[in-house]
């Protein structure tokens, strides 16, 4: 009965945190999400992506390429639910929900400790970074689910002599390569570790070779795509550490020798690796939900678990026994691939670290909890600790559901959906719709209205496939996406002009139809007609 109550509580908590106000928190589909959403919509109707490629294995997006799985997974929900935030985010929500319970199941397979398993699931259920990326269409979250699924099936197969499960685990690992590009570096390393640490158990049953073969088979299309994209703007080529401006400068410096150049790369890598392991980033600031200098930041994990993490580091052997070397290795390799990339701290790239960190936090938390049980004073203190965890979680909820959507409108290109909602019923009134893609203060960002508007107006995807690229813009259907310079613009009646608020026309004969504000009431876009 107690077991069922705990499961029920966990289910409610997980569903609630990952679906409450899903359409407004985050406040809009992000740059990456709209790319996934539109491609899912386009493929569902035409079998072609935005760039007219037939059922691609790699989707061209914002100058680089995306892994395909998140897009293909969004197709059924797009067909059933239509174009909305929920339809594109649903696969990630489901993946996040299942990961919570899979991680608990994995811990149980590793330790046979039910309490530890529940603790692991609970901690993941309240982990800010996992909540956030489960609520967004995040490739990394789907990759995390597949990796945890693979690990669970692997150990379940070994423990119960169900080698079929172990074989399927390799399929899950292989699929994770299709979910997110970071897995191209991480998953082969993970598979190597599993084969190394558990070679004795695996070699007892030759059937596992089928699993390994399956994994290699799934690698082939990825490898082919990679070789085809070498030298292009594919993500794996543009995001690596060798593209870092500092590194490029040093590597092209002829006054330093090759050993020193190697030092440059090594130091950059170590610095990045250290940043991803920085306890301040993990427990206090990593989420960056508010402005960078804002002291009310939240970490990737709730800060009271900092102590559990450091205690847990020394207790892996106590709770995980023979698996300790694998757990430590998993912790070490998780941030390796993100550390090899450039562009600053990137939480999705490092999302895979959630798994080993939760394993360690669970061990530390259980040890502390059991220690408190044996001492009268500490027994009292444990309720204080529980109170602190509850407060910090509640505080995260206030920041996340309250302040974050207010402050982050610009970062999520808020306003384009509202523009689409205006255009949809008034579409036939305009001969042409010209949209200036700039936004933000001083117009420093360039948005992707050519994806948001067709998506939210349900424009026939064939229109975008027939688009015409112009200098600094694109034309499709009755849309022109380009910068508007009021001094040079040839104004015409029955044209709709959509501009960022900072691009105010001086001409007084333009009629403002609508003003769209950000969630913090700052003006974002204006719609005019002549």
């Amino acid at each position: 009965m107690k077991f069922k109550l705990i499961i029920f509580f966990l289910v409610i908590l997980t569903i609630a945190t990952r679906s409450f106000r899903i359409e407004t928190v985050p406040p809009n589909l992000s740059n990456d999400e709209i790319s996934i959403a539109y491609d899912a919509y386009s493929v569902s109707r035409t079998l072609r992506d935005e760039h007219n490629h037939f059922l691609p294995l790699s989707f061209q997006s914002h100058g680089t390429y995306k892994a395909p799985l998140a897009i293909y997974l969004a197709i059924p929900s797009t067909i059933i639910l239509g174009n909305s935030e929920l339809s594109v985010r649903l696969p990630s929500i489901l993946a996040g929900f299942l990961t919570v319970f899979l991680l608990g199941a994995l811990i149980f397979e590793l330790t046979k400790n039910r309490t530890l398993a529940f603790l692991g699931s609970f901690i993941l259920a309240v982990t800010p970074v996992h909540i956030h990326y489960s609520r967004m269409a995040t490739e990394a979250n789907i990759a995390l689910f597949l990796v945890v699924l693979g690990l669970y099936l692997f150990f379940y197969g070994l423990n119960h002599t169900k080698y079929f499960a172990t074989i399927i685990s390799f399929a899950a690992f292989g699929l994770s390569l299709y979910a997110y590009h970071t897995q191209w570096g991480f998953t082969p390393l993970l598979v190597f570790l599993l084969l190394f640490f558990y070679r004795k158990e695996l070699l007892k049953q030759k059937l596992f070779l089928i699993g390994a073969g399956l994994f290699v088979l799934l690698l082939i299309p990825i490898f082919v795509t990679f070789t085809q994209n070498i030298g292009t703007t594919s993500r794996e080529n543009t995001q690596m550490i060798f593209q870092d401006p500092f590194v490029i400068g040093q590597l092209s410096n002829n006054s330093i020798n090759i050993l020193q150049k190697f030092q440059v790369v090594l130091k950059t890598f170590i610095s990045n690796y250290s940043n991803y392991n920085n306890p301040q980033y993990i427990f206090f600031k990593g989420m960056q939900l508010l402005g960078e200098q804002d002291p009310f930041q939240v970490g990737l994990f709730l800060f009271p678990f900092l102590i559990s993490f450091f205690v847990g580091l020394f207790l892996v052997k106590k709770y995980f026994g023979a698996h300790k070397n694998f757990i430590y290795s998993l912790l070490i390799i998780s941030p390796l691939v993100p550390a090899l990339t450039t562009g600053g701290m990137n939480n999705p790239r490092n999302l895979i670290s959630v798994a080993p960190i939760i394993l360690i936090i669970s061990a530390g938390s259980l040890f502390i909890w059991e220690s408190f049980r044996d001492n009268k004073f500490l027994k009292f203190l444990k309720w204080g600790v529980l109170f602190l965890i509850s407060i910090s979680f509640f505080y995260f909820m206030v920041i996340y559901y309250g302040l974050f959507p207010i402050y982050s409108g610009v970062n999520y290109q808020y306003g384009y959906k509202q523009i689409a909602e205006y255009i949809k019923p008034n579409y036939n009134e305009f001969e042409k719709i010209i949209i200036d893609p700039r936004f933000g203060e001083t117009n420093r960002y360039s948005g992707v209205p050519h994806l948001y508007i067709p998506y939210f107006t349900n424009l026939d995807p064939n229109q975008l496939l027939r688009r015409k690229d112009i200098k600094d813009g694109v034309i499709f259907d009755k849309y022109e996406i380009r910068e508007i310079n009021w001094n040079l613009e040839n104004l015409k009646p029955d044209y709709l002009y959509v501009v960022p608020n900072s691009n105010q026309p001086e001409k007084k004969d333009l009629q403002k139809l609508l003003e769209i504000n950000l969630p913090n009431n700052q003006p974002a876009f204006d719609l005019y007609t002549y």
């Binding site: 392991n277 306890p279 020394f314 309250g402 913090n520």
Partner: protein, 235 residues
């Protein structure tokens, strides 16, 4: 330069002051401690440079006499010394934090007015302090101060000491905890100035693990540390 005599004293202390220890090959491992960046640090004020010696004195007295009084005074000394060496502005004087509190109280319109100070108040200073303290524990910070090589014996030393049941365990771990917390107080934290006071604690932990540690691994890390530190390419 004060680090060298402290290293030698602790080394011989841990080996029961046996002179013949000079002739054992393992003394060469002490050479690996020489290039540790923090050991080359010194304060401008002469008095502050004596603080590590006082820490060493407290450490010695606690081990020798197992006195709780000495233990308490030792921790108080670490706290006060840490506050003295960082005598600049503390985070409690940061105006941007105060501004953020009032701004969030204004923006949190989803909360009833009377509840807003409950969530956005001065407790954020302590949260910020903990965050700054946690920042010190980053890998880069630790290897910049101690070299990557000494991270291994330090962790091993902490594990070995944690298994003991004597007062020394609490002093060593307590002084590290206090030192880390004090490190988070200044507006511009200078981890090296606090850690300098704790040199005897760090050396004690490192040298405690010398018998148990894998010398080959340590040597490998040491060579890697030297290789990393040889040039000033700072990304």
């Amino acid at each position: 330069m004060i680090a060298l005599p402290i290293v030698l004293f602790i080394y011989f202390w841990l080996n029961n002051f046996k002179i013949r220890e000079i002739f054992k090959p393992k003394i060469l491992l002490l050479l690996a401690l020489l290039p540790v960046p923090i050991f080359a640090f010194s304060y401008q004020k002469l008095l502050f440079n004596l603080f590590p010696l006082l820490t060493l004195l407290f450490l010695f007295l606690i081990v020798r006499f197992e006195s709780k009084v000495v233990f308490v005074f030792g921790l108080i000394f670490i706290l006060l010394a840490g506050l003295m060496v960082n005598n600049g502005d503390t985070i409690f004087m940061r105006s941007d934090i105060a501004k953020a509190i009032s701004q969030h109280q204004l923006d949190a319109q989803f909360l009833p007015f009377k509840l807003r100070p409950l969530f956005y108040n001065g407790l954020i200073y302590f949260y910020f302090l903990l965050g700054q303290t946690a920042n010190f524990l980053s890998l880069k910070n630790l290897y910049d101060l101690l070299l990557l090589a000494n991270f291994y014996p330090l962790i091993l030393g902490i594990i070995l000491v944690a298994k003991k049941s004597s007062l020394i365990k609490y002093f060593l771990l307590g002084s590290l905890a206090i030192g880390f917390l004090v490190m988070g107080l200044p507006v511009s934290p200078s981890s090296i100035s606090i850690l300098f006071i704790l040199i005897p604690v760090i050396i004690y932990l490192i040298l405690s693990s010398f018998e148990k540690m894998n010398k080959k691994i340590y040597l490998g890390f040491f060579l890697l540390s030297l290789f990393i530190q040889l040039n000033n390419f700072n990304p």
